[in-house]
């Protein structure tokens, strides 16, 4: 599996695109204690792209996402965002650089209302655009509008996921990091959420980095994709290339996905 990655080529994305990547990860190694979780990851996300990272359980996808946010911190390597080195920056400062994250497991505030959850999302830019942005996420997620006064913990799983994404959007991010937005959701809701991600990218030009197990939907949506196996990026390519690759097919797309 790991050697086969060479087929599709470890191409350097910078060679194919002239643009400066918005986020670039170079040789990042992350440890949990003495256990190595990321073994030197290189990855780029260009402005205006949807980039997806697929891989099996425990491959290190979420670790990479969290490492970009500085929690846990990369022990080696550099992470650059918009030309600035953010490797050693505290998490909350990274968040203030117009990167938003919808972390794994949604992590909404269960005892606070939907409205308050959204306020929390907007708090880093001083609530300046709160009303406008509230309107906007309510158009994107009409379900949330009905439930603004309801406590986050009483929402269904899908609604909680919508809330997590909406909360991340409230800070007007340039780069949106999504960790498994389809986890545990009904196929119809997954479709809705992926449709919204697409809209955000096409209409608002938002750059999206998507970590997914739902490889079929993610690769179909993404401009480019990376495949991660036990802490290494083994393949990369456009979404279509990866979808058609027999290795990827065998490892991640077997079974009913349509």
């Amino acid at each position: 599996m790991s050697t086969a990655g060479a087929n599709i080529a470890m191409q350097n994305p910078q060679a194919s695109t002239a643009r400066q990547p918005l986020l670039s990860v170079r040789g990042v190694k992350t440890y949990y204690g003495n256990i190595i979780a990321l073994k030197g990851v290189d990855m780029d996300v260009n402005e205006g792209e949807i980039v997806t990272l697929i891989g099996a359980n425990g491959a290190g996808k979420s670790t990479l996402m969290m490492t970009i946010f500085g929690n846990p911190r990369a022990r080696e390597g550099t992470i650059t965002y918009a030309g600035r080195d953010i490797t050693k920056m505290p998490t909350h400062e990274i968040a203030r650089m117009s990167i938003a994250q919808s972390p794994e497991g949604r992590r909404i505030f269960p005892r606070m209302t939907v409205y308050e959850n959204l306020q929390m999302g907007a708090s880093m830019n001083g609530m300046a655009y709160f009303d406008q942005d509230l309107e906007r996420v309510c158009t994107l997620f009409p379900r949330l509008k009905e439930r603004l006064q309801q406590r986050g913990g009483t929402l269904s799983g899908g609604e909680q996921q919508m809330l997590a994404i909406a909360r991340a959007l409230m800070s007007r991010p340039k780069l949106l990091l999504l960790d498994e937005p389809s986890l545990g959701l009904a196929p119809l809701i997954v479709k809705q959420i992926f449709q919204i991600i697409k809209e955000l990218n096409e209409k608002d030009g938002m750059t999206v980095f998507l970590v997914e197990q739902n490889a079929y939907h993610a690769l179909k949506l993404a401009h480019r994709g990376y495949v991660m196996v036990t802490g290494n990026i083994t393949m990369s390519g456009t979404g279509k290339e990866l979808l058609d690759d027999p290795q990827v097919k065998a490892a991640y797309l077997e079974g009913g996905h349509h």
């Binding site: 972390p103 005892r111 308050e116």
Partner: protein, 470 residues
Amino acid sequence: MNAPSITTTAQTNTVSRNFDLAAAFKDALKAALITLGLSIPILSYKTNQSGADLFLTSRWGLVAIVCAIVFGLRLVLHAFTASKAYAKATPSPRQATELVDAGPSAFQKASRFGVPFFLGVALTFPVLIYLIQGGLNESRYWVDLGILILTYVMLGWGLNIVVGLAGLLDLGYVAFYAVGAYSYALLSTTFGLSFWICLPLAGILAAFWGMILGFPVLRLRGDYLAIVTLAFGEIIRLVLINWVDLTNGGAGISSIPRATFFGIPFTAGEDGFAATFGLEFNGMHRMIFLYYLILALALLTNFVTMRLRKLPVGRAWEALREDEIACRSLGINTTNTKLTAFAIGAMFGGFAGSFFAVRQGFVSPESFNFLESAIILAIVVMGGMGSQIGVAIAAIVLVGGPEVLRNLTFLQSVFGTGFDPNEYRLLLFGAGMVAMMVWRPRGLISEREPSVILKERKAISGSLVKEGHG
């Protein structure tokens, strides 16, 4: 298919509606007889020693009382289970839609009528007591009790910021109370500063110590945090005992200047309060002033907390309680958020402490032991973490309760003259806590009121929502 189920419901209905009194009576009698059997060897005789002789004193009255209690409780239990079964058999029509279409919850009911009621009683309390007791001197005990309760209400509200809002379990809150008390005691006795200057200084000093505690425990949560804060409380107390040069050690600091009415002392002299306002001198004037002082301080605590909850910092506290990681990824500086929670919580503890010192006129380390911390924390937990009115009710119950016990002297005629109900204070305290954990595990008022009300209030019980962790 339907018919059998209908008949079964009907049967259960009739069964439970006709509460079988005879059977319950019989069962209760049986239980009482068993109690009688058991109590003959245990309770009915007592050995009394007089010189070298040993006497047996019979205590049949006590046995009768115990049997009667068991009989009564058994009967009540029957009635209770029967009524519960009846309620189960006839579901309320609203039950199915309860989650979405909740009627006014316990919290909303409490806040609609309870808050104005409590506030009214608190504001007019000295007057009411004066009218009921028929004299200033007669109402001294009650006003004193009111001051004590309000002190704990204020401490509860202060700790509520740390524990209830920010979710940081603090077992050493009494340390800030002590810092405030000693700040006033030392500043006033050494430099002769007045209470009104010392009050903010005590708050600032306590807040400063709150930050000092905050720094080392920033990375801790839950149990670990509790242990460190517990140790901090003890450290402060031990320092107060052992730093004899500064604090006079275990003997404490006495003759702390009393409170003045904005500069006018409560004395019988020419320039005293009574003379200035043309009243007859009475020591109770000072007490009533102290009552309104602590009421104002407590209401200030409440007001500030309520305002802060609507500001970004208060919302950040609550978000921190729910999920720390999510907070950080939303750009919240969790370090600062925790430190402000510790500092502001401690500041109110410091205010309360300097009030304590001015009221007592004497401070010693003995007033700031762990039990105090435990009681304040119990007030917050019992009240429902984060609920202001719940904390106030819990303070009344936990602090006023023992005083009620003290007055139950009629029990002495039942249990003998040596019986002191106050000795059972901690037993009842424990039993009450256990009962709370069984019936209201999230405190008296467990619903968290949203900080923003959009159109109408529509609350969903907090018990339906799981607690955040992170």
